[in-house]
């Protein structure tokens, strides 16, 4: 029982960041119809941005996360503007190939800049765990969970309470009608890609200090993000949030009770099962955004 509680708490911390990754990807995938294989690279970018800010800049941890978000948004906007906008009329396969190219280029660019050796990101929190009855949790992980929850809440507010969010929802529902109503589709696409990439970078900045930062860390993160999107349904924010938490907990339970060697197989198996049995996602009645 105590062990189960401990697994659930660990799963929740992982799941919060998976949810961030998933929300970013589900927006890009759902709204722009782009299968963003470079999503994991923005996660890596976030981790390295946090490393640069903390280890080299010596700033506060929250500032480092903000720097990562800024870097993700900036590069995401650039990527959309230069590569995706000219290809908007092309098929989904074409943009997918371009994003595969971006993924390879970014990953090896990171390898060139930072080297192949995994970097441990310094953080200001004490390493002694907080003991709360039967479970113990590192202060860093508490901070990660709280910040992830805050960012998820901020994403909801952005989508549901702002003019930009309303324009994004309108574009998702019907691009042509939204354009007729005066929504600038190009700007919405740039904003969506920047926003999604920023969330991925935030997830990297949060999980980077928990684990390690290395150039290929984004590969599995991207697949987990896809897993979350598939669990939650395309463009479904609550679905992505729940899907992220579910995946995090399922991984922890799988690693704890089945075999730690197959921890990463959990996401793959979920993708296969959900797509074969219930392709619209676990929580979706229909595809929607918001």
């Amino acid at each position: 029982m105590e062990q189960l509680l401990q697994h659930l708490v660990n799963g929740l911390v992982l799941g919060g960041t998976y949810a961030l990754l998933g929300i970013g990807l589900t927006l890009i995938f759902g709204l722009m119809n782009v299968v963003n294989f470079a999503h994991g690279e923005f996660y890596t970018l976030g981790a390295y941005a946090a490393f640069a800010a903390l280890a080299l800049g010596g700033v506060d941890f929250v500032v480092a996360v903000l720097a990562a978000i800024g870097a993700g948004a900036l590069l995401g906007a650039l990527c959309e503007r230069v590569l995706l906008r000219p290809l908007r009329a092309e098929s989904i396969d074409t943009t997918m190939l371009v994003m595969i190219g971006v993924w390879i280029a970014m990953q090896n660019g990171e390898l060139l800049v930072w080297g192949g050796v995994a970097k441990s990101i310094p953080h200001p929190f004490p390493t002694a765990p907080l003991v709360l009855g039967p479970v113990s949790i590192a202060p860093l992980r508490v901070f990660v969970l709280v910040l992830a929850a805050g960012l998820i809440a901020a994403s909801y507010l952005l989508i549901h309470r702002t003019k930009l969010g309303r324009a994004m929802r309108a574009t998702f529902q019907d691009r042509d009608t939204a354009a007729l109503m005066g929504v600038r589709i190009s700007r919405i696409h740039t904003a969506t890609f920047a926003f999604g990439s920023a969330l991925a970078a935030a997830a990297g900045a949060l999980l980077g200090p928990v684990f390690l930062a290395y150039p290929s860390m984004g590969d599995l993160a991207a697949l987990k993000a896809f897993c979350v999107v598939i669990l939650g349904g395309l463009g479904n924010l609550p679905g992505a949030t729940l899907g992220g938490l579910l995946l995090g907990i399922a991984e922890e339970l799988g690693a704890g009770y089945v075999s730690s060697g197959y921890r990463d197989a959990v996401g793959f198996v979920i993708i296969i099962l959900v797509l074969l049995l219930r392709p619209s996602g676990l929580f979706a009645r229909e595809e929607r955004i918001g």
Partner: protein, 311 residues
């Protein structure tokens, strides 16, 4: 003109080891041949039926492991183990095809990636069968009667035969009624279905043949490098195949071979000039540039250029 070029090409291919004595260059050509089989295999799905599989490294890996294990553990001859590897990967292709080909587009891609991910994790974790991350050393080189095909010049002919066989299989398939059904499905699936093309049947057939060819490439690779490890499942292999097919020209028979030759030789040339990371970086940039400037690939672009000059 085209016939002359083809004849010269065939003569060149048949006599290559006699005038290309440098073992390093011969190695590059052998690897290009193995990748040529892989690219032909992926092209059957991506180019002719329009389904992008990003799990193709799984079939390559299954073929490599099967052939290696059959010769190492059961001491089968290479000449039995290789067809065995092809048969088992074709079976895997049938199984995965039956399940995954209900899906289309991005969802199909994700399921193929996931299958490859699971199989790769199995190869790392199933120590008793695969020896885990340490891999299987000492895969025997094939023997033909009293001769060993261990030398690069001899192995070259084996790979050449593999490429020729794969090319013939693809050419026969594509030129037949089946090939027309593939194209009909690629161009307009509902229309093809409405005139009686059995969608699942033909797509699964393409998956089976494609997987079998990838298994052939895996077997050829295993007995060439004589070592198999979970690295054969690396996603890099799949990406390389996709780049080769897209660059050469998907949906053409010559395209994958041109792509394979180019993208095996080019990284090697880049390697001489720069480091490995720069080479992979260049790969990514090149893929982006290709989609922008040569979206249909090299072979169709050349064909269009020749047609324009003739008219």
């Amino acid at each position: 003109m085209i016939r002359l070029a083809r004849g010269l090409g065939a003569l060149l291919a048949l006599t290559l080891p006699f005038w290309l004595a440098n073992p390093y260059f011969l190695h590059v050509v052998i690897m290009a041949g193995i990748f040529g089989v892989l690219a032909l295999s992926l092209n059957l799905l991506l180019g002719y039926t329009g389904q992008l599989s990003l799990g193709h490294a799984a079939f390559f890996g299954i073929g490599a492991y099967t052939s290696a294990l059959l010769t190492l553990r059961l001491e089968w001859s290479f000449w039995l183990a290789l067809p065995g590897a092809v048969a088992l990967t074709a079976l895997a292709g049938w199984l995965i095809g039956r399940l995954a080909l209900k899906l289309r587009g991005a969802y199909f891609v994700l399921v193929t990636i996931s299958f490859a991910g699971v199989i790769s994790l199995v190869s790392v974790n199933w120590m008793e069968l695969t020896n885990g991350p340490l891999g299987l050393p000492g895969v025997p080189a094939p023997e033909l009667g009293p001769w060993s095909l261990r030398a690069k010049s001899a192995y070259y002919y084996l790979v050449l035969a593999g490429v020729a066989l794969s090319y013939l299989v693809c050419a026969r398939l594509v030129g037949s009624r089946i090939g027309r059904a593939f194209l009909a499905l690629r161009e307009n699936e509902p229309l093809a279905e409405s005139v009686g093309v059995d969608v699942t049947h033909y797509l699964v057939l393409a998956a089976v043949v494609s997987a079998g060819l990838a298994g052939l490439a895996g077997g050829l690779y295993a007995h060439y490098t004589r070592f198999v490890s979970p690295e054969v499942f690396l996603f890099t292999y799949t990406v390389t195949m996709v780049v080769m097919v897209v660059a050469g020209g998907k949906g053409t028979l010559a395209g994958p071979l041109v792509g394979a030759l180019l993208f095996t030789a080019l990284p090697e040339a880049l390697r001489l000039a720069t480091s490995w990371q720069w080479q992979m970086l260049a790969y990514g940039v090149l893929l982006v540039l290709l989609v922008f400037f040569l979206p249909r690939g090299i072979v169709p672009a050349l064909a269009a250029w020749r047609a324009r000059r003739a008219s």
